[in-house]
Amino acid sequence: MFLSDNAFFFLIAWEIMALTTYLLVSFEHEKEEARNAGVLYFVMSHIGTGCLILGFLLLFQASGAYGFDGFHAIGARMAAGPRNAAFILFLVGFGIKAGIVPLHIWLPVAHPAAPSNVSAMMSGVLIKTGIYGLTRVCFDFMGPPPNWWGVTVLVIGTVSAVLGVLYALMEHDLKRLLAYHSIENIGIILMGLGAALMFLHTGHPVLASLALIAGLYHTINHAVFKALLFLGAGAVVHATHTRNMEEMGGLVKRMPVTAFFFLIGAVAISALPPLNGFVSEWLTYQSLLQGFGTTPSLIRLMFPLSGAMLALTGALAAACFVKAFGITFLAQPRSAHAAGAREAAPTMLVAQGLLTAACVFLGLFPTLVLKLLDPVTQQLAGLQLSTRLSLADGWVLSGAVATGGTVSTPGLVLMAVCLLPLPLGLWLVFARGAKVRRGPTWDCGLQGLTPRMAYTATGFSKPIRMIFKALFRPRREVQREYDFSPYFATNLRFESHVEEVFLTRIYRPLNWLVWRVSRRMRALQAGSLQAYLIYIFVTLLLLLLFAL
């Protein structure tokens, strides 16, 4: 699909990809969950393909051929109506594949249902095809964009990022949590692309390239760390036979290597220095910051506000991965399965190790990798930026504008290494005689801590759930059975739910409508041959009338 230079072939490859993914999602077809997830994915994916076919047909009308080179900057020759229609069709078509809010509902269902290596593939590659398509269409085919395209993409990106991470925080299914983070990261990527479109509109090719690079670099980074996290989650699920984080815990001692790799992935995805997520978000911040000066209109307030939302996303992602890592790997094992977990097989560890190394490399040496993006910005925005972005022989990364600010992840690591003698010296001078003793954790004088007393994933995210309760509409049910006082319950049942607004408010009613219409349509299909012949005849007549 990435190699095709022709809309026709592109769609064929697109469909093959969709169909094979359907088979992979329903791979464990004996489970009902996997079958349903497969069907949902199938339906959503085909709505998307339908939009793409229409979009390409609109482009075809203007160019008269299906070749991508014929489509180049075709948008400039199209009338505003079909051009905007094509943009919306492509946004929806590719957006479904990428998983933007509110078209994301298949993503958190299909990712966990698939086997973990497939989830890694889906998050790393499959949803990126949507980004590829959108970039290709918006920057290559559609010509100079009107302002509202960029604004739309930026807003969708911001909303996807914030909602994705908020829903991720509510999950205690490890793989669903990661799937929601894919939505978040697609949002961050789209923030870069949307800003780039806005800069193209206002005629700032340097900033457009910077924002584009930020988005594309985050695409690479997300592919790497998300694949790493899914493989880690796969190893954990394999070892504990559950995806529920509440039944894990203590795995850092039982699966030390997997835990270390997962921690690196968690730091990377939380956009913390010095790893790769930080670098691409830094570039995004830079482009948003510089964007403020590109236009005098009030639209420019969008940039700092989406920057603030990006900060919110980053901090919530950090909270979410403290939860994901802390509850899964730290403290005491919360179930017998977790207590009996074994380290993953060496082959699984090698795969994770390679991706961990990639995370570190992409974080420490971004300037080397950004060179590879030069042809892309050359083609899409008309200039190469990598030399401007690299200072001090590539050790320091700079914002595109000379005074915009610099950052050096390898420099930070080196500085930290240089400062290492400090605690070492303090230890030598003061603490050499100090002894280290292992003891029980403070248990308030009770009979020792049990895993049931440890903080749960649901408990961890409770403050967030309460703060954003307008969105989550949390509902809980508590049933107590007690003999003499409710404080000494003999039996307790606790249920807590959050509502997925998009599912209950948009998709359920839509689904209901489709069912109703279909039921009405069934009257047409009466099973009588004569009726069908009449339909054919009437259609023919109508077509002939059209032709006249």
Partner: protein, 314 residues
Amino acid sequence: MNLDVTAIVLQTGLLLLLAPLVSGVIRKGKARLQNRRGPPVWQPYLDLLKFLRKDMVISEHASWVFSFAPYVVFFTALLAGLMVPMVTMQAPLSLFGGVLALVGLLALGRFFLALGGLDPASAFGGMGSSREMTIAAIAEPALMLAIFTVAIAAGSTDLSRIVAATLGPTWSLLNPRHVLAFAALFIVLLAETGRLPVDNPATHLELTMIHEAMLLEYSGRYLAFMEWGASLKQLVLMTLLVNVFFPLGLAPVATPSALAFGLLAYLAKLFVLSCIVVVVETTNAKLRLFRVPDLLSAAFVLAALALLSTFLFQ
């Protein structure tokens, strides 16, 4: 664009030595306002020494993450401090990162602090981690928006450049953009450093503590690095506040007289800010946890107003 090694060494030393003193001054000030005599201002140094010398008890449930966290907290706060101009206009580590890296480093420290809280399997630690990450998450947009307001004016995220731009001929004490952004950042400072009305640094009451809950299982030199890291972070944020919004007195060149004047001005500004913190802490009661978001959204609104005022007053 070279790194000045002497500047780095001097600023590191200043950060390390000054951070406990600021905590001590605030503690003393609070005690005086409450009609207590209070511990001497150098008490935090003695505490650090005591912690460094002590034996350690480590929870049997804890893993290497628990032991790693104190160093991360300490180093990230220290590195972040090197990116802020303290006495001179030029921060020694400006080249390696500006305000975005500073925020990122502090977030990295917080990430490991929270993991260290979860590691010993104590419910208190988990509670502290959960609350700390929540409060940080809602403080972050206000922090970033306030920072964007000053960064946009300078066109840079490099703090040295931001300070230079603020110090320009148009600097005035009552620039509405500065006043509003300062107010927003001040609220964030209270939240980030665990001060009243968000968190009470003096409490060990189980259900109200946030920062202390995560440190509950730490002892000995790990606790020393945690405490030192926390006071470093406080110093870094306070320095950010005083020097970005009141850059008067910063030494433009590294001559002895300019440096001496810069140091004096810096200490005076820090003292004033500490006094403000003392007054706020003494006159406010702790907020219920779910009222904290209101306070922090107020900070966000202030920052947004600061941004808007760029339009209104130009």
